[in-house]
Symmetry: C2
Subunit: 577 residues, 2 copies
């Protein structure tokens, strides 16, 4: 079978020529970073020949189409678009363009390649075009802070991790004044189009901008790109968000190492908290890659209405059973957002926020009487350190900082306490030592895998093509499932990937906020009847008691494993095929 990606120049990929002066990075790049700059990127074949854009059927919304239609009168219902090869592309398809690009929100490996893809499209298909990069996220649009991206400027960032080429930011374009500022900027720069690289919120924002510009008969079009390591921005036509593949592989490398450590030492339970606040995709993917003894999936905890005690007992039961087999060690994966999935914890926090805002908290603990019974029971169940954290660490609005709670340490203490009880009852005879880990920042800026490198490049190249053809309000969608080959861990070769754009309004629903309907792209949660969770669920009992650890090792850019895709994508594509 042909390899999916261009390696060692055996594939006619895009390999750029280095600029004459290479001073900027030659002394600050490692050998591996340097070697990645020259990595040849394959393109889907449709992007390598003349093409036209074919519209699909009218679209609707993910929910409440009537409200979405009201919020997006100019864009609602527009079809998704596909690029198809054509011998007679329209005349406008090589006109010069002025485009802008912005990175929005948290980092994800591959962002630089989206930008390279846009740039290379303009070089290849619209000579004489200009690309501006807005600095520091959406604030750069509002404040008109930008840099013109040239071949030399982009070169050292090719296939590199991070968002440092133009940086990102978390500001949103929300108020009428802010929309006005954005309008002024794109008019000042005479932009034909803008590419917004971001997550669900940023893409919603992109669609609002597209609607705004269209409503004013401005020429500026807006295209979004799906970015988030959390993997929670996806739909049928957008099979995955970029960065998820790389981040999960980095975490899985470390989990695998810790597993071998656990088995070699034989005396530690490693509790690993993984990034992913809203959805547990990262945790699930890492579980599928490494086979830990215990994995907590937030969506399942919520669906089963589990309490914190239930989660603790689930862990304690497995630890006890393993002790009977003399396994006093193991690895446990926990999603960062776990406690957000437990209703009783949410109730407790709401009550605490109320009490702390209005009452004085006495040393004697009389204030606790204001808690409901359920919340009081839960509070008393919590380890002392967590109780203190809940009472003391507050955000500027005086609210409990849920994000600061080190869930993995909390669970270690709760498991310890429960095991101690069982020891006294004589039902547990093992030894338990917990070690806590949090894997997060390490994964957001790693060197993108071959998959993310190619995927992002195609997303960017495709986004520019959509703008060239005057499309707006779409999210760039590249699908690796055209010819899905369920062999090894490979998807179809890049050449066979489909390229197009999906109507952003078709991903939307509304939420009621401050008495108004707000459009939102619903986060894609782990589906309990989806193929990835089902595979995990069918194997976890075996993983719990037997040790089926897999250590994926460090990401390789050539050789065995270098073209693997994530298990989540593999299984989801497989289920579709």
């Amino acid at each position: 079978m042909a390899p999916s990606f261009a390696i060692n120049g055996d594939f006619p990929g895009t390999r750029v020529t280095p600029p004459s002066h290479t001073g900027r990075f030659a002394d600050v790049y490692s050998e591996v970073q340097n070697s990645r700059i020259g990595h040849a990127l394959p393109l889907p074949s449709v992007l390598k020949c003349p093409f036209v854009i074919v519209d699909g059927p009218q679209s609707t919304a993910a929910g409440n189409p009537d409200e979405i239609a009201k919020l997006f009168p100019n864009l609602f219902g527009q079809p998704s678009a596909s690029l198809v090869p054509s011998d007679s592309p329209p005349l406008h398809s090589n006109r010069k363009l002025k485009l802008g690009v912005v990175l929005s929100g948290g980092q994800a490996p591959g962002g630089h390649n989206v930008i390279s893809g846009i740039f290379d499209y303009l070089q290849d298909k619209a000579e004489g075009s200009t690309l501006y990069g807005f600095r520091g996220g959406p604030a750069g649009i509002m404040k008109c802070k930008y840099v013109e991206l040239t071949s030399d400027y982009i070169y050292p960032y090719r296939n590199q991790g991070g968002f440092d080429m133009i940086r990102s930011g978390r500001d949103k374009i929300e108020t009428p004044e802010q929309f006005k500022q954005a309008e002024e900027t794109v008019q000042k720069l005479d932009l034909d189009g803008l590419v917004v690289i971001g997550g669900d919120d940023s893409n919603t924002n992109a669609c609002l901008l597209a609607e705004h510009f269209r409503s004013k008969n401005m020429k500026t079009r807006v295209i979004g790109c799906p970015k988030t390591i959390d993997g929670d921005l996806k739909c049928k036509e957008v099979p995955t968000s970029f960065g998820f593949d790389t981040a999960c592989k980095i975490y899985a490398e470390m989990i695998g190492n810790v597993m071998i450590d656990a088995r070699s030492t034989g005396k530690y339970y490693h509790f690993v908290r993984l990034m992913g606040r809203a959805a547990s995709h990262i945790t699930l993917e890492c579980a599928l890659q490494t086979h830990p003894n215990i994995t907590i999936i937030g969506e399942e905890v919520a669906a089963k209405k589990m309490t914190l005690k239930d989660v603790t007992d689930y862990i304690v039961d497995i630890v006890s059973k393993r002790a009977e087999d003399n396994y006093n060690y193991g690895v446990i994966l926990i999603p960062e957002g776990l406690i957000d999935f437990i209703p009783e914890v949410q109730h407790l926090i709401a009550e605490l926020n109320e009490i702390l805002a209005h009452d004085t908290v006495d040393e004697g603990g009389l204030w606790k009487k204001k808690l409901t019974d359920q919340s009081l029971n839960l509070f008393e169940l919590l380890p002392k350190a967590i109780q203190e954290q809940l009472m003391l660490e507050r955000d500027p609005h005086g609210n409990v900082q849920v994000a600061k709670i080190e869930t993995e340490k909390m669970l270690i203490q709760m498991v310890e306490t429960e095991l101690e009880k069982r020891k006294q009852q004589g039902t547990y005879k093992g030894g338990f030592k917990g070690q806590s880990h949090f894997f997060g920042y390490e994964g957001r800026c790693g060197l993108p895998t071959n998959f993310d490198s190619s995927y992002c490049y195609a997303l960017g190249y495709g986004a520019a093509a959509l703008l060239q053809f005057g499309k707006t309000g779409l999210i760039s969608s590249v699908c690796p499932n055209a010819l899905f080959i369920y062999v090894a861990n490979l998807c179809a070769p890049v050449e066979e990937w489909t390229v197009g754009g999906t109507a952003l309004t078709s991903l939307m629903d509304v939420e009621r906020r401050h008495g108004k309907f707000k459009p939102v792209i619903k986060k894609a949660m782990v589906e309990l009847d989806g193929a990835p969770f089902q595979k995990f669920a069918s194997l976890r009992d075996e993983w719990a008691l037997k040790n089926r650890y897999i250590s994926p090792g460090p990401i390789q850019f050539t050789g065995p494993g270098s073209d693997d895709i994530s298990q989540t994508l593999l299984l989801e594509l497989g289920a579709q095929a």
Copy 2:
């Protein structure tokens, strides 16, 4: 230039044939793990032809030779040994052997390859020999728990991380009864030799065993192997301990990722604590690989007699200066053992242990009057959470658990407090957000790099050769500096490495414990006038204010960077050359 290691079979390395049944690991190994099993290992050329062993001059001890001579009457002064090619090796050089091997102490990548090396030597040069692996560390010797290591048994562990083949343990063979048990075991198994794979303590223990067996005219010889990720077991003839290379590269990958994240976000200071309690080699090596803004080296802190306040001020000064350039982010490396290097902290802890053992601690804080002024000042300087940790977390003997103090979090709080002060004084106008990390367990069981794979294999192969020739009380020493080529990050090709054994007594000094002299192999600390520290010291001011981050990326097993050796080894070999 010829590559140093066998890649893609272009080098006549040792590539083993898989056993007929591959069931055990085929379904539990990742693609990368699987590919590493088949990685061909080169051998120093002296090990590939007939050789003899040539003794060097008489040795002495690292300190107090008279006392070492008394403690090792049979072994003291013995020469180090070198393997040299010979057309007429002695007759005994292919006699069958019965050997044992044991892994002692914490994991380090490459341990399995030492065992493979011993095994393959026996297969290649002493057909019909037997190798026993003692299970669970030195306790396995005392309890005579072992497994016979066969070709099939060893196969799946080739080039794999971890110590899970036979596990390790931290027990020591110390008392006369324990020596007796060891004696019985080696007699029962009729061992010609024993290889002890471990750190400084374990190698001291190996030498005591060698002395004991020799004093009883037993035939069992003992050879040590230098293992520890901390890199603090080394001398001129033993240029590095195995595992250091891999562990540092794993940590450097993560530090590099965090650096790109810091630069992309522009708002976090990442405080990274790194393993290495006694010496700061890991921190120094990671600094040389990644160029962080601030690096604290414990040995320098001790030499300069810095206080905790001094360390804090050093960090705060750089953070303030960076803020003037609008850099409100950065990366700071801290060795795990930092506070062990600060005398005032040691005094405080000693006083606390005394007070907590004998007095009651009153809520009002009257107990603090028992502290000396210096200790009281320090205590009051510490963040509240650390104060509580010092008072509450005790080991089974009631002592403060220094190892549990999260130094990186402590420093974040102290830096925060000091910056707040400066802000109020108007001398600091930046923004500061600290993020803490601890990189430790992730590095101990990773897949060994090409360097560690080859180095360990040669160490094991050489250890068996030394036993074959009747040597005892030596540590296997493999030197990559025979023909040092100071080009790129390469040491001499494996073929040109020298192989031999260094008298363990020559590494020893004595310490006075319980009124008796005890032999110890002194830990090799970071030398402030050594080449690695000097290079770091010459560059750190530039790294502090400019951003010279290097992101090494994930360890590659083929292609660019895959044959790099550690900066520490490179610089130390370079200084010698």
